[in-house]
């Protein structure tokens, strides 16, 4: 065990000494994305592992050590970390925990403090916790988010988004079950191997890798069957983490639907964009505004590259951040930034515009921002787009799968009925005032 050092507020620090023989444990959210980020962090000399423990013990640990009125992702993330330490797999005196912190006005910024309280309750107060954030909160001598790591992490996230996008488009139609997952694994393997050697990290090589990935997925034999496409949006953790949403994508697949899950890079750009908007609305240093503006453009360059790669290979491509942003006019202001903020509504609007009006809006039970940007916008979306078909599903340690599935099934049944109605109406001429005010 390394010597424990504290900052002036009594926060346990992750020291340089710890860097040598401590293992960093990170919770899981997006399995593929995070696996690549972890590999990059490793290449900077850290021992780091992404946790894969799941199931009841994780939830139990969370409920035991976290205030039960805290949001579900906090319970899961902290439960997963504590359960891992208590599993006996690691020497508790040689691990540190990593958790993200957005610094926004939602409760999620407090996860790290809830985690520390939980560690204390579990007699693990000697385990250091590292905050991953872009706001400069909580610095540690032994851990630095260097520009290099950040740049590469963005690459990893873009690769992850591409894999998410193409695999979701192929998996429901694959003729041989498992082909898609094998292909994801193969792509991951070569990407990780590349990263391990420091390759695949230039704009040029990234574009080449994009094509290699899209080609691999294009090569999977698929059926021409038509399936209902279902969008998945929501609070970022339950939207992506199978642990958080009771394996939502698997369920949608088993119901004969194609899940459409918007990627995570928009969220990153969104968080950068917020800072620029803040200066715009409330005033502040123009240099901050300029820097954020530049950073947003930088990340969007890679997003565009991904979109181009999708297009040239014949996959459906999502719109870029600017396009997403254009949808929310009349719905929410640019200043709506806590949690997923206006981005969540924008994603629903984009899905409706690209012909995916059937949407599952996921949120932890009692999620504060989603009262507004999720559930709060469904009425207006339905008024403006009568064929939209959105179901809000709450996730919670006590919520049962059967209730969630029944409501999703209702949404799927509606999808069919609405499609029929829509087809009927499009055959008969529609009086002009009854037309949907699309766009």
């Amino acid at each position: 065990m390394a010597e424990l050092k504290y900052d002036e507020n009594g926060r346990l620090l992750f020291t340089k000494e710890m860097k040598k023989d401590y293992t960093l444990l990170a919770p899981q959210m997006l399995p593929d994305h995070f696996a690549m980020v972890v590999e990059i962090v490793r290449s900077y000399g850290y021992k780091v592992e992404m946790l894969e423990n799941a199931g009841r013990p994780v939830i139990d640990a969370g409920q035991k050590y976290v205030h039960n009125d805290a949001c579900y992702p906090a319970i899961l993330v902290i439960g997963q970390l504590i359960n891992a330490i208590q599993s006996g797999k690691y020497d508790p005196h040689k691990v540190a925990l990593v958790i993200t912190q957005t610094g926004g006005g939602c409760r999620a910024s407090n996860y790290i403090h809830l985690l520390r309280k939980a560690l204390e309750k579990a007699d693990l107060a000697f385990v250091p916790v590292i905050s991953l954030n872009l706001s400069g909160m909580e610095k540690n001598p032994g851990f630095q988010l260097s520009v290099g790591i950040l740049r590469k992490a963005i690459f990893a996230l873009i690769y992850g988004d591409l894999l998410l996008c193409v695999s979701n488009q192929v998996r429901p139609y694959e003729l041989t079950k498992g082909d898609t997952d094998t292909c994801v694994q193969q792509c991951m393997n070569f990407l990780l191997a590349d990263m391990h050697q420091g390759k695949g990290m230039s704009f040029k090589s990234m574009n080449a890798n994009f094509d290699r990935i899209t080609a691999a997925f294009k090569a999977i034999p698929v059926s021409q069957e038509e399936k209902v496409r279902v969008g998945v949006v929501g609070e970022i953790y339950v939207k992506y983490a199978p642990l958080g949403n009771n394996n939502l994508c698997d369920f949608l697949l088993s119901e004969g639907a194609e899940p459409v899950v918007p990627g995570v890079i928009d969220f990153i750009i969104f968080k950068i964009n917020n800072r620029e908007v803040d200066v715009d609305i409330y005033g502040g240093r123009w240099i901050k505004e300029k820097f954020c503006h530049w950073l947003q453009k930088y990340v969007m360059k890679y997003q565009h590259a991904m979109i181009d790669a999708l297009r040239r290979s014949g996959f459906r491509a999502p719109g870029d951040f600017t396009e997403l942003h254009s949808y929310i006019k009349g719905y929410l202001g640019d200043g709506n930034k806590m949690g997923e903020g206006w981005l969540l509504t924008a994603e629903m609007l984009e899905l409706i515009h690209i012909g995916v009006p059937n949407i599952v809006c996921t949120q932890p039970f009692g999620c504060l921002p989603n009262h507004i940007v999720g559930k709060g916008m469904i009425r207006k979306l339905k008024d403006d787009y009568p064929w939209s078909n959105i179901v809000a599903i709450d996730y919670d340690p006590g919520a049962t799968k059967i209730n969630q599935e029944n409501r999703i099934k209702l949404m799927l049944a509606n999808a069919k009925a609405l499609k029929k109605e829509q087809e009927l109406q499009s055959q008969t001429p529609v009086p002009s005032e009854a037309k949907a005010p699309a766009l």
Binding site: K64, D69, G105, G333, M338, P369, I402
Partner: protein, 983 residues
């Protein structure tokens, strides 16, 4: 065409229908399944073999529990709301909307325009199971409940969100002598409100409405409430003859699209699936064997009071009464605490009658040998019983329980009491009750829950809980509120769990709920070393065992666990050392009479629902009041800063110093306007606008806006805004001003200065959900007030664009507005100091009520301030003291301004020996999940008491009263302890 069969397997019933080629009903059935879903469906099908035998049939299953059955047996499934829509299309063409209530689901379907179908979310009662629960609470059958409701005279406001909430509303009404007829109708009204609020979500319910599902089919009173509330006439309210079976009929109609099979094959599929089970989430058994259980029993049965026998005893005795929420307990003791007489029974909604009867019985058995020297009463019905029978002492439950527990273990440091409706836990520190934890309205998985469940499954409570003792694999049902547990049980049943596994699972759930949700303990040491458990629910050995297992520690359960409140009351009566008791004599009891009448107090805006109890000889007792005014006494005017703040805010309307020529600006009086109104009022009146405030909040105003609330789990203060904004539209203002504010003022006391997401962005939610706002000028721009110069620029831009106001004029108005805001703050702060001074002079205890600014709204705090000052406290608010402390680093990210004030207020209180703090928390407030623990730890680190009051749209202040009185008792005990220490 082949015959079509639809099977609807709901949470409590199975419906089977057979349709012929003309869509005519050949057969229909509606039966309870007592969680044996597959068996029930198979039996019914077998019983109609004569109709179907040898034929090909299209068979489809639907319903909330049908999904699982369909998966196992391989018969096709259609979603039940979809099926219902199909049936309505076929049988009631021209329908505009459908409301269907089922056992545990509520559904709504809108036709016309695009089809819209919706079900209740995961947190929503107001369904059949809710009505069942309420009926058993009133101790009547469902039919009786229905009959009662038709004779109502008045409707009480009852929280409609979920059964648990409603219970805590209904119980006090009953305990205070409210009429069952009125309660019955109020229960149905709550269901209606829940349906309208939870499901319409902004789409108007009009035109021809079809009502379906069991409850609406069978309950005339419920129908009446719906028809009344929605203002429907006979042509527009349709109750189809087979309304209870519509989903099944719809399923049969949909069956056309699915392949047909020989009937015998379908039956076989269903019957064979009966034995199939799937993986269950299970836990270790409670007891391995009988020996194990016997040892457990003998250990606990050793904790009993001294033996005593009334038949032979002669001498003095003391009476204790615990008028609990669902049960009445009475105990007569001798000088050593030996129990001479005891009684434990459901109070059947009328505790007075029960006590009267038992008191007569006690006098009879006492004869001339025994003299009752004192009587004390505790519990929810304390005041009523005390007044009815002239008891010598009324004491708060926590004190009674401590008194009783100390009798068994003088060293006791932790007491947990789980009763029928509530759960109380408290620590004992230095001989005083400390840190009380009560179950919050949403997690009361208490005794009556198991009971209701036992009944639903066809068992009585005793045999049901016995079943669980030796279950080899108790099911894991989670540890949240009862609504969630209901669906966990549903899932377990679907997965094939037996009744004994469910019974054990429920017992364990209750314990987990208590330990993790109410007490929030990580381990046994968090509780204490000497734990005494009590309350009727702990007489259930399964619950007791689960509790010991969960803690990994042995606890004391006295044999009289269910009587501890009464026992403690009796001990307290004994310790009064009275020469003579005032208790009504046997003679007085002969002429005793009691009559209860509901009334509404009109003396202030609280509009308390009063119950006027009159007894023989003109004795009178009024309950339900918050202050002493309806009792004919002058209202005490103790310092109350909450009221002061509210009144001074309400005065910010009109033209101010300006001319008002630019028009009328409406400002909704809610959420952060409780902070910013002085600013905006001055700003707009300086610009020569007239400021129009929305009316004061009220239940009525809430109901007005209820139908446009999209998220039923958001906090009550936010929900109220819908009514406020609609009212402003009706008042015909020229524009409504309600800006979005991500950030609050930066008071330099936190790490950041956000508003919570709901406060910050609720204006945008209103704009998207309230249709009337589309025709109104609703201004909700993003504004930040903490950077004065930037704010001037930004507002000048907005005012220029919206009203063509010159830049310079707006800038001047902003500057003037800042001054007004500052002087408002200063006034509040100096008033706070004045109040503290005044209280100190008079020797009054002082309470800081820490919440949000909008908790000053009487509709949000339900008059808690009156209750507090009524108990003799001087009240000040968190914002009047938070400024006295500077920034200090916290163990949480201290990033919301309003919340930062609470931390500072707590720190301030820690330095003041004569001030305590109470935290107000709105149900559903996510940020308070963070702040509650932090405020508690600040206070407890300095030896202060932490008390939290959770509030929602509920009106009942019973639980609040217990806490405030316990706090007072604890403060007194502490100051006594200190006096001893000093001397």
């Amino acid at each position: 065409m082949d015959l079509r069969v639809g099977i609807d397997i709901g949470s409590t019933t199975v419906k089977v229908v057979v349709l012929d080629e003309q869509n005519k009903l050949l057969f229909r059935s509606y039966e309870r399944h007592f969680s044996k879903t597959r068996e029930r469906a198979a039996q019914t099908l077998r019983s109609i073999t004569d109709i179907l035998s040898g034929k090909n049939v299209h068979m489809v299953i639907t319903g909330s529990a049908g999904l699982g059955v369909s998966k196992v047996c391989g018969i096709d499934f259609v979603q039940e709301v979809y099926a219902t829509a199909a049936a309505v299309n076929q049988y009631v063409p021209g329908t505009d909307a459908v409301i269907e209530l089922g056992g545990e689901d509520a559904k709504i379907i809108f036709f016309g325009g695009a089809l819209e179908e919706r079900m209740n979310g995961s947190c929503a009662g107001g369904t059949g199971a809710f009505i069942d629960q309420m009926a058993s609470l009133l101790n009547v059958s469902i039919d009786q409940l229905d009959e009662l409701s038709l004779k109502h005279e008045k409707i009480y406001p009852i929280a409609s969100r979920c059964g648990v909430f409603a219970k805590s509303d209904i119980q006090p009404i009953l305990n205070q002598g409210g009429r069952k007829e009125d309660v019955a109708a109020s229960i149905f009204q709550a269901v209606v409100d829940q349906t309208v609020a939870g499901l319409t979500q902004g789409r108007a319910l009009k035109g021809k409405i079809v009502f379906l599902g069991g409850p609406l089919h069978f309950l005339t009173g419920l129908r009446e409430r719906f028809v009344d509330t929605l203002h429907l006439d006979n042509d527009h309210a349709v109750f189809p003859e087979d309304g209870d079976c519509f989903a099944a009929m719809g399923a049969a109609l949909c069956a056309t699209d699915y392949p047909s099979r020989p009937f015998e094959e379908c039956l076989k599929l269903l019957e064979e699936s009966v034995d199939a089970t799937t993986a269950l989430d299970v836990m270790p058994p409670l007891f391995i064997n009988e020996t194990n259980y016997a040892a457990f029993l003998s250990r606990h049965n050793a904790n009993h009071p001294p033996v005593a026998d009334l038949a032979t005893y002669a001498g003095d005795a003391w009476l204790g009464i615990d008028a609990g929420s669902t049960t009445t307990k009475m105990v007569l003791i001798g000088p050593e605490g030996g129990i001479l007489f005891h009684y434990y029974h459901s109070n059947q909604g009328n505790p007075v009658a029960i006590v009267l009867e038992q008191l007569k019985e006690i006098y009879r058995q006492c004869g001339n040998r025994v003299t009752i020297k004192g009587a004390a009463v505790t519990g929810y019905g304390e005041e009523l019983i005390k007044n009815a029978f002239q008891c010598d002492l009324g004491l708060v439950e926590t004190m009674a329980h401590y008194k009783a527990a100390a009798h068994f273990n003088p060293q006791v440091d932790f007491i947990i009491d789980i009763g029928g409706q509530d759960m109380k836990c408290f620590k004992i520190r230095n001989g005083a009750v400390d840190s009380i934890m009560l179950n919050e309205a949403c997690s009361s998985g208490c005794g009556s829950f198991i009971e209701t469940f036992a009944k639903a499954l066809g068992y009585d409570i005793a045999s049901f809980s016995k079943l669980g003792l030796f279950s080899p694999h108790p099911v894991n049902l989670g540890s949240r509120c009862t609504v969630f547990m209901n669906s966990s049980v549903k899932q377990a049943q679907k997965d094939g769990a037996g009744v004994e596994d469910i019974s054990a699972g429920l017992s364990i759930s209750i314990v987990k709920n208590a330990v993790y949700k109410v007490i929030r303990a990580a381990n046994a040491d968090d509780l204490g070393k000497h734990i005494v458990v009590q309350g009727g629910t702990f007489l259930n050995d399964a619950v007791l065992r689960a509790f010991e297992q969960e803690l990994g520690r042995e606890v004391v359960r006295p044999t009289i666990a269910g009587l501890m409140g009464a026992f403690g009351a009796a001990l307290s009566a004994r310790d009064l050392h009275l020469e003579q008791s005032d208790l009504l004599s046997i003679e007085a009891l002969q002429s005793f009479s009691h009559n209860a009448k509901p009334a509404t107090c009109g003396l202030c805006t609280n509009h308390c629902s009063l119950t006027v109890n009159t007894f023989d000889g003109g004795r009178k007792f009024i309950s339900g009041n918050r202050c002493s005014r309806p009792l004919g006494k002058e209202k005490q005017t103790l310092p109350d800063l909450m009221k002061y703040k509210y009144n001074s805010l309400r005065s910010y309307h009109g033209k101010g110093q300006g001319t008002g020529v630019r028009g009328r600006i409406g400002i909704p009086f809610g959420l952060n306007m409780y902070e910013n109104l002085p600013f905006w009022f001055n700003f707009f009146t300086t610009l020569n606008f007239e400021v129009v405030l929305s009316p004061e909040s009220s239940r009525k105003l809430y109901i007005k806006g209820q139908h446009t609330i999209p998220s039923d789990t958001v906090c009550y203060p936010a929900k109220l805004l819908h009514g406020h904004v609609e009212a402003l539209v009706e008042m015909g203002v020229d524009a409504i001003w309600y800006p979005c504010m991500s950030y609050n003022y930066d008071e330099g006391i936190g790490d950041n200065h956000y508003n919570c997401p709901v406060v910050a962005y609720y204006p945008e939610l209103l704009a998207a959900n309230i249709p009337q706002l589309k025709e109104t000028r609703f201004l909700n721009p993003y504004v930040g007030l903490w950077r004065h110069r930037d704010c001037e620029k930004h507002l000048a831009e907005i005012m220029g664009k919206e009203f063509a106001i010159p830049h310079r004029e707006t800038v001047a108005a902003v500057q003037s507005a800042y001054q007004e805001y500052t002087s408002f703050l200063h006034d509040l702060r100096s008033m706070g100091e004045l109040y503290v001074e005044e209280a100190r002079q008079k020797g009054l205890p002082i309470l800081v009520v820490a919440g949000r600014p909008y908790h000053a709204d009487p509709e949000i705090n339900h008059g808690i301030n009156d209750l507090i000052t009524g108990q003799g406290f001087a009240l000040i608010t968190e914002d009047a003291v938070s400024w006295k402390m500077g920034y200090e680093s916290r163990n949480v990210l201290n990033q919301w301004t309003f919340q930062s004030r609470m931390y500072n207020a707590a720190r301030y209180v820690c330095a003041q020996p004569d001030i305590q703090l109470i935290q107000l928390v709105s149900f559903g407030c996510g940020t308070d999940a963070i702040t509650a623990d932090e405020v508690r730890s600040i206070l407890e680190a300095h030896g202060k008491l932490y008390t939290q009051l959770k509030i929602d749209d509920i009106n009942n202040l019973g639980a609040v009263k217990i806490r405030i009185r316990s706090l007072m008792a604890a403060m007194e005990a502490r100051s006594r302890g200190k006096d001893h220490g000093d001397s």
